[in-house]
Amino acid sequence: MRNSVKEIKTKFSTQGDFFIEEESYDKMSCYLIGFKTLIDLPKTKLYIQQMGESCTSKSALLGKLSEETNVNTEQLIKGILEGKLVIVTKDGKENAIVDPIVQNLNSSIGEPKNESPVHSSTDAFVEDINTNVGMLRKRLNTDRLCHCTYQVGELDKRRLSMLYINGKAPNDLVNKIHHQLNQIDSDIETIDDLNKRFEKRRLSPVSHFSATELPIQAIHSLKKNRIVLFMDNYPFALVFPNLILDMFSTENDRNFPFILTFMLRFFRVIGAVATVIFPALYVALVSVNPGIFRTDLALFVAKSREGIPLSAFLETIAMVVLVDLILEAIVRLPKSVGPAITMVGGIILGQAVVEANLVSNLLVIVITAVVIASSAVIGMQNSLYIRLLKYPILVLASLFGILGVFIGFIFTIIYLASLTSDDIPYLTLRFEHKGDTK
């Protein structure tokens, strides 16, 4: 059995952080094998020593340290890769895979970075999948919360967790997802990789999952018959299926009186519709159908556009693209430079563009309103895809005017209605498929 140590040694000879240390305690001498980067070695040694003091024999000690004793070499290697400590006796006859004291590689529970809930608890999910599931369990004390774990991938076995409430989430959906997750044979790096595993949506801007950082929101989704997935090292809960109302309502709203909740959600709907329609409406009214304006408004608009060389469509598309660029640039930049760009982009550029008579004052107001409105919806991914939806409508508006705006809007809604995730339409307003308790 000594050759197992040799085998492990040759296998990991290229790893700089791999260690094999000879250690002798009063009852036995053995090799400790593992990765320095994953194991806190001094503390672990101390731990083993303390355990050894109360034990009478070698095998008793190993048995006490671990339940996985005397396994074959392959399993030992797997254990090492998972960050466990492998103990092999000097004679090579006995071995054990021990849970060591680990190096702390995870960030501690902190505040959400992408969402800023008002009037709510401010802890957010972290990278560690167990912590995340624990956070849910702590808040949801029920035996009906089911937790299935998967390890998928070709190169890297990534851990996935699926949580649902037994009796709430529809059984056939749970089975289907279980099946789909088990079938994954390639590496899952991003949500998009996971998305592809579900229904095909190659060019769709809408994901199958709505990602949330907030445990409250995840629990609310669970209670509303939905399924929550976790990926290891990804500090978001992925709620399946993603429904359109996720864009407008969050559980946190309900911490306010009903009428305020209603107001907040109503404004988000206005924001989404305004983002999609406003630039298109501007182009349609200014260039194709000015007859709709009231007279004084028509004269005002004509005056505001006096001497502008660009056509309404060109100026609008230029401004919309520019603003989307600024938004993206602000995200990319380090936090210390961000405000500077905001100022240059927002104030100086906006001012200069108007003063140079390149775009009309009215358009700048419209664009500003749209940028603000697009941020009113919940979730960055929703805000992004709404920003994308405005472009086709803008093009249609420049061709067909008001008619184009409404055709574009209707087709956008038809398109959204055609989206399904596992046969659940994206436009489902209430997800009420109750499963029965198994």
């Binding site: 000015p290 005056k303 556009r305 006096e306 001497g307």
Partner: protein, 350 residues
């Protein structure tokens, strides 16, 4: 056969792009937006079209007038289109001023209204007004007045009822419709260029099936508003010893046929507000005076219109279920002159 979905989509997309003719679309600042269209006829021969076009460039909006002549209205419009610097967009035309001598010729006037109604460029909601004056004078009058916007003429007719209860407006489609009505005639406001203000309201012109009948004064026009159940709130009346303002009015009419002659009882209830009065004048006296004054005004107008056989109040509308459709066609000539109206006014304090 085109198989791939992508190439089919791209054909659809490209045809949308290249067949839509979007390069002909003119932005609003490249269009001239005439607000008022004046139509007159010179020497009984050529139509003369005058447009009032605001110039949006300056802060103080001023406007200019463009005049063209042509054998027909289309002809004249075509001339304007050719000679103008910008594309002319008639979608904002708010008012069409027609000279009286043109309106007097029934056939020509009917043709004109039909053309205006049928034209896709000119909105059928544009208001119609008739003037004695030279149309050009009316339109260019805006520029001579200090502090008046280009949209002044539009504003003039859109003050809101409570602010100018005597003024009323008639869109083209109503004029067009009235040509086919046999039980109701229509009044079109008559205006002229003012000395201090842009326009002066002179009353209204009664049109019977597109035929010019006569002009009545503003106070009489007010009676028509009352019978059409329009709000006459804000209407003031000077009674000599007092002046009042009407705050609310409602009219109820009952009809019957007596020996094949139409008979109407109408009760007008006026809620009034006394603005000022001389000393010692009681409410009762004011009520009596306003009642008598209104009644007399109504009977005068009724007599006048019965004489000219134009049912300006639309009484004929109310007899639609009493008289057969066939007979109603002759309402103006057979029944209306014999119409008896028992009109009572009940004034009361608010």
């Amino acid at each position: 056969m085109i198989k791939s979905k992508v190439s089919r989509l791209s054909i659809v997309f490209l045809s949308i792009l290249f067949l839509s003719g979007c390069w002909d679309i003119k932005d609003i600042n490249n269009r001239s937006l005439p607000l008022v269209l004046g139509i007159s006829k010179e020497n009984g021969q050529e139509y003369k079209l005058t447009l009032q076009i605001p110039i949006p460039k300056s802060d103080n909006q001023i406007s200019r007038t463009v005049t063209e002549k042509g054998k027909t209205v289309t002809n004249a419009l075509g001339h304007i289109q050719t000679n103008s610097e910008n594309a002319i967009d008639y979608s904002q035309v708010q008012l069409i001023v027609i000279q009286k001598n043109l309106a007097k010729n029934q056939q020509e006037f009917r043709d004109l209204i039909k053309f205006l109604m049928g034209s896709e460029d000119i909105p059928s909601r544009a208001l119609v007004a008739i003037t004695d004056d030279n149309v050009e004078n009316v339109l260019s009058n805006i520029n001579n007045k200090l502090g008046v916007n280009a949209s002044a003429i539009y504003d003039y007719f859109n003050k809101g009822t409570a602010w100018a209860p005597e003024l009323f407006s008639t869109p083209i489609w109503e004029v067009y419709r009235s040509q086919f009505l046999s039980t109701k005639d229509i009044a079109v406001p008559a205006v002229r260029a003012g000395k201090d203000t842009v326009l002066v309201f002179e009353g209204s012109t009664i049109l019977r099936q597109g035929q010019f009948i006569e002009t009545i004064g503003p106070k009489d026009s007010q009676m028509i508003n009352v019978f059409n159940n329009k709000d006459v709130k804000g209407y003031t009346e000077n009674l000599g010893f007092a002046s009042i303002m009407v705050t609310n009015s409602s009219i109820q009419s009952k009809i019957k046929m007596n020996n094949n002659k139409p008979y109407v009882t109408s009760d007008l209830r006026l809620k009034i507000h006394i603005l000022e009065r001389k000393q010692g004048i009681t409410n009762k006296k004011i009520y009596e005076k306003i009642e008598r004054l209104t009644e007399r005004r109504f009977y005068n107008l009724l007599k006048k219109t019965q004489h000219s056989q134009s049912d300006i109040f639309g009484f004929g509308q109310q007899f639609q279920h009493v008289i057969s459709y066939h007979d109603l066609k002759d309402w103006r000539y057979k029944y209306y002159p014999d119409l008896k109206v028992d009109f009572k006014v009940h004034a009361n304090l608010e």
